[in-house]
């Protein structure tokens, strides 16, 4: 199998996983947003109160509303509709990581070691970004 055939196979797998995971992320985000707007789930900061805070820098916003940052928002997904919404939008940030993780075994099997190393390094960068270790704040 030559380079072109390798590329076709890897791109096809990446495209399929990208397609499905993006659709799922959009659907989840939209459903969570409807729940948020409808008031079906309580919000941590009520929508009618939000205009008082959304003009503030993020640090001041967090201080005045007492809203969680870092990964603490994750614990509020059941009690704050905006955090359920945030969790669904965060899925968009995971899509690329999932697609890269899926193609690594294929790249190794095809003997594309350098590409496999690059993909693994990209996964590591995304995991570090998601972990918040170097995000400061």
């Amino acid at each position: 199998m030559d380079v072109t055939e390798h590329d076709a196979k890897v791109q096809s797998i990446y495209a399929r996983w990208l397609d499905v995971s993006t659709r799922l992320s959009f659907a989840a985000s939209l459903a969570a947003f409807v729940l948020y707007l409808s008031g079906a789930l309580p919000a941590y900061v009520a929508l009618r109160d939000l205009p008082r805070y959304w003009g503030l820098p993020v640090g001041e916003f967090l201080r005045q509303t007492g809203a969680p940052s870092g990964w603490y928002w994750f614990t509020h997904m059941g009690s704050g509709a905006e955090y359920l919404n945030l969790g669904c939008m965060a899925l968009l940030g995971i899509v690329t990581l999932v697609c890269y993780a899926r193609i690594v075994p294929t790249l190794v099997a095809l003997g594309e070691r350098l590409q496999a190393v690059l993909a693994t390094a990209q996964i590591a960068v995304l995991l570090v970004a998601a972990s918040g270790f170097f995000a400061g704040g």
Partner: protein, 285 residues
């Protein structure tokens, strides 16, 4: 209308409308929407720039993720070209996002305004893309940065390879940093870097640029999420608006004169960039 006096739901509706219009214009103008979204929403809406940049990143991320499968299947995007450049860009983008959230709002507004005005000037002055072929350099050959695709418009198969690979890494590092700093996708810079600098064919440059944005913005988006700078009430209407607008823009593409669209894009960017610059300098608050 005073922001505080208006009912809250006016703003998500207005965001949807503006994002819808940006979606149409961005497709027609061949740019990513973020370069219009961040200065326009940051300059004319009541939201703080921290939240606008967070929404801008997700806005660009959503659009490029949605377009990715089609671009990959048509081979207009090359994963082999994207992977090394996106790795350099995503590390820089992460750093840009951290720096951006540590800077004062005025400094970010001023830098954003100046950058958008420069980009508008570059778009206004830009000419047709590079259409030649290049010989690979040593690094490009080692990374096997080459490929082929069928051009349906020309009815031919085009083989391509890139050169100036090290300069390409530097360019994508710089572009990624600015993207993370300002919450932009930076497609306006990716395409010339791939086409004019590295000699990728224009269609491969456009397609691969979208995929690069989807990787780079994933890295910076986590910084904004982690720091609490992503508000769903801004991000979701923006994503919906741009997705619907982009579909309509794609349909209008064939019947709209490119020169008119380019003038509209440049005018909108100059207006929004000037607003951001003057706001940052405290002249028009």
């Amino acid at each position: 209308m005073e922001a505080a006096a208006a009912p809250w739901w006016i703003w998500p509706l207005a965001l949807f409308a503006v994002s819808f219009a940006i979606g149409i214009v961005a497709v027609l103008g061949g740019i990513g929407g973020g370069v219009l979204f961040v200065p326009i929403v940051g300059g004319f809406f009541p939201f703080h720039l921290d939240f606008v940049r967070g929404a801008g990143l997700v806005f660009a991320l959503a659009g490029t993720l949605a377009a990715g499968p089609t671009l990959l299947r048509s081979r207009m995007a090359s994963l082999r070209l994207v992977m090394p450049l996106a790795l350099a860009g995503s590390v820089a983008s992460f750093a840009g996002a951290v720096v951006g959230l540590s800077m004062s709002t005025e400094a970010v507004q001023t830098a954003l305004g100046a950058t958008v005005i420069v980009i508008a000037a570059l778009i206004a002055l830009s000419r047709d893309g590079y259409a030649g072929t290049a010989e690979s350099d040593a690094l490009g050959a080692a990374l096997r940065m080459k490929g082929d695709y069928e051009d349906p418009a020309e009815g031919v198969r085009i083989d391509w390879r890139t050169h100036r690979t090290l300069a390409g890494f530097g360019a994508f590092g710089a572009i990624g940093f600015l993207g993370g700093l300002f919450g932009l996708g930076a497609g306006f810079a990716n395409v010339p870097a791939l086409n004019l600098l590295m000699a990728a064919p224009l269609k491969v440059a456009v397609g691969s640029s979208g995929l690069i944005i989807s990787v780079i913005n994933s890295s910076a988006a986590w910084v904004y999420i982690y720091r609490g700078a992503l508000l769903p009430v801004l991000a979701v209407p923006s994503i919906l608006g741009v997705m619907i607008g982009s579909r309509i823009g794609a349909r209008l593409l064939a019947m709209t004169p490119a020169t008119t669209v380019r003038r509209i894009v440049v005018a909108a960017m100059l207006l929004a960039g000037t607003r951001a610059l003057l706001r940052g300098l405290g002249i028009w608050t």
